[in-house]
């Protein structure tokens, strides 16, 4: 007997196999992507609508995970705002960080909307440095933002923070139960990883080893 989950998995297997077949026959981007495009245009899966429970999860169990992710995103927003206001950044770094701050705010927006849909309450964002530093401590961010006095230090702090954030998303993805939340979390985690890469490129231009240090973002082991 095939339930909805089994049927969806069969479809997925077919989709992945079809993608592989297309790629083997041609690498024309238009053809290769024609049957596989997910939510596009920078719009998150969660923003696209509600969600069904994924393999083994429940929407109710996602509330706590969402609150945790939102608190993390609020810390990142504070960190970028703080760096942008520091007066220590070059024009190119200022432009990049401005874009990344917009991304982080989009993440907060998408997660807040998803949380509200589930009946949860959006946590209060830190507005004072003391609260920000307390949250950093809670997240086990080793590098302190106190006393940063040049662009390189600011970038190093943000790279560390982005990597910690990616670990939180990785852990959340292991626990979330709703399909669309899972997809959104994965889309955001990948974006945070790209931020870390782009920040590392600003810090050490052309050094791909620093920009993409490992094949497994946030580790290869379990959980």
């Amino acid at each position: 007997m095939h339930g909805p989950d089994a049927t969806r998995r069969e479809l997925l297997r077919g989709s992945v196999a079809a993608t592989a077949a297309v790629l083997v026959s041609t690498v024309d981007p238009a053809v290769a992507l024609g049957s596989t495009a997910a939510a596009g245009g920078g719009r998150s899966a969660a923003a696209a609508g509600g969600g069904s429970a994924g393999a083994g999860g429940s929407p109710a169990g996602d509330l706590g995970v969402l609150v945790s992710l939102l608190r993390v995103e609020q810390v990142v927003v504070f960190a970028y705002e703080r760096a942008l206001a520091s007066g220590l950044l070059s024009a190119s770094a200022q432009a990049a960080l401005g874009t990344f701050l917009d991304h982080e705010r989009a993440h907060v927006h998408a997660l807040s909307r998803a949380l509200t849909r589930l009946g949860g309450t959006v946590p209060v964002a830190p507005t004072l440095t003391a609260a920000f530093e307390s949250e950093l401590h809670r997240l086990h961010v080793k590098r302190s933002p106190t006393g940063l006095d040049n662009e390189r230090q600011e970038l190093r702090f943000l790279i560390d923070l982005e990597r910690v954030i990616a670990r939180h998303y990785r852990s959340a993805i292991a626990r979330l139960g709703t399909d669309k939340l899972l997809t959104t979390a994965a889309e955001i985690m990948a974006n945070e990883a790209q931020h870390a890469t782009a920040l590392a490129e600003l810090l050490s231009p052309g050094n791909v080893k620093r920009a993409v240090p490992t094949g497994f973002v946030a580790g290869v082991g379990g959980g």
């Binding site: 992945v16 245009g41 990616a166 292991a174 994965a186 790209q194 379990g222």
Partner: protein, 191 residues
């Protein structure tokens, strides 16, 4: 001068060479020392289902294709693009190795690389970079589709870690081509 036909033959040959060699490379990269393998295995519950094996074999097929493409394309690249592609090839090999070991560890039969891949006829650095980006996009799409379907827990986490790495590859490839490295707040198959 290498014409399109001979270049295509070259790419096929490179893919075949890679396919033949990747088994050895995968074995060499596959989890490192015995102690490391034991540690990783110890942190991963054995709750891998038949459906998970099938999904992982689907993305493994794409990883094999990406490995063939990077292997064939690297000789046509120069400078920063070549350095990046060389690093990314190593990382794709580590993804394939992880998937291979996971499938095998769960009692499944990992798909092997094909003897050859028809990768088209790129005849410039731009063509090669476009080809690599197209493959990376397909990997993004496949991992994004796979994550909600995999068993909750470490298997999803591993897939998410690989997805994020593929997103970093695209970011660097975009940068090499003079484009904004991070164009959107949400990484989708459209980059």
């Amino acid at each position: 001068m290498v014409g399109p036909a001979s270049r295509r033959a070259f790419l096929r040959l490179s893919g075949a060479s890679l396919a033949g060699g990747s088994g050895a490379l995968l074995t060499a990269c596959g989890g490192g020392s015995g102690a490391k393998r034991k540690l990783v295995a110890g942190s991963e519950p054995a709750a891998v289902r038949r459906a998970d094996i099938s999904i992982m074999n689907g993305v493994l097929d794409l990883e094999h294709t990406a490995i063939a493409a990077y292997t064939a394309g690297i000789p046509l690249l120069t400078g920063r693009a070549r350095a990046a592609a060389t690093r990314f090839l190593r990382q794709e090999l580590s993804h394939a190795s992880k998937l291979h070991d996971t499938i095998k560890g769960a009692g499944g039969k990992p798909h092997l690389a094909k003897a050859s891949y028809d990768l088209g006829s790129p005849d410039s650095e731009t063509d090669v970079l476009d080809m690599l980006r197209a493959l990376e996009k397909s990997l993004l799409s496949a991992y994004l589709a796979a994550i909600p379907e995999l068993m909750p827990g470490w298997l999803r986490a591993v897939a998410a870690g690989i997805l994020a790495n593929e997103a970093q590859h695209i970011s660097v490839l975009r940068s090499v081509q003079g484009q904004r490295p991070v164009p959107s707040a949400f990484v989708t198959a459209s980059e």
